[in-house]
Amino acid sequence: MAVLGCDRGATEGILRLVQALVQLDNVTLAFGANQVLNDVTLSISPGECVGIQGPNGSGKTTLIRVIGTLQQISSGSVIVLPLEPKPRLEIGLVGHRAALNDFLTLRENLEFVAGLRAIPSSEVERTLSATGLDPVANRRADRASQGMRRRTDLARIALTSPKLLLLDEPYTGLDETATGIVDQLIKNTRERGGGVALVSHDPAVLTRVADRVVSL
């Protein structure tokens, strides 16, 4: 492809930026004297699942938050979903702890997100059923097991179908059914042309799920 008025290097750079869902260049982040991320460069293309591994304290979770536009950086550049008018609305994050309001039931937690996104309540019911949450959907979040809480977090992702899926140790503490839900979410996101960033300390998981692995 030729673009008039641009040299080849610049053209390739622009195409790379437009095509990539995520482009991090020379990202550095420090909390005071504590250097958390040092010159990290990373890209995620449509349909790609990138694994992130590293020892404890290497900045894996921080990197996920940087990709999710939830953490400001000290230097470098972060471009996330450049073609989206509101990129944040296309990002789905599953962290170590479920993002649930303890005083709401599991169903109400999903209904709240669905309401904010104008997703019909029939979709909530369908998602509850698909994720096997039906029998416990009316249980308050603070009275639900950790597994069910995490499953509700995954159900929220299934409900909103984000273009960029950020998973921080998503398989920890999950049973076989919930593991299948995570696999399905990753598969669906990739099939839609979305991207996935997956943090795991388990090399077997990364080998099985990710296209390539970045080490911190």
Partner: protein
Amino acid sequence: MSLWKQAWLIARTDLRVEGRSGEILWIVLPYGALALFLIPIATALPLRVLSDIGIGMYWVVVLLFGMFVTLRQSSQASPQERDLMRLTLGDPAALFLGKSVASTTLLGVFQLVMGPISVAFFNPALPPQWWLLIPVSALLALAMAMTGTLVGLLVAGTRSSTALAPLLAAGLAFPSLVGASIATSNLADEKSIVTPIALLLLVVAVTSAIGIASSTLLEDQ
């Protein structure tokens, strides 16, 4: 989804959460009532003096305990919930507006309960046009709710938020207290309350403008 629809959903959810946590019903309301009960006993003032200071004491209790209403624990989101809201809301101002609406409603209820208790303990000398205190109370609730919500969002996630928030909120709500107090005094003297009403409206306008304008900024903290 529109900004106001999102704000309304946030407000309804906040009120539902408060209804289940019972923080205001079982903690703030009884303590507020206890404060009104203890003031006459602790000061041992003559009934006539208590009657004179009754409405003022009511405003002070509303201001101080109202801060606990606006900064209630049940409305404080966990870091995970804050992240979720940042990734879910189309317009960050919806959070400020929604929480302000919920707090205004709860403050209205708080004032409604404290009113008769004040009358019972202080037998205050109500001005002839006492009903004009209703819009003053409503504006005070709105001003305090917006101030408290703004402070709550400002200090969210900071280390000293528990200690800092009530201090900041009470300080920022001071002009609202002055407005309510002047309105009461003017009504007692049968003067116009346009100026204190204007002061309360100004607080509401300034706080809402800052809250809406800074929502995006606060979201990126």
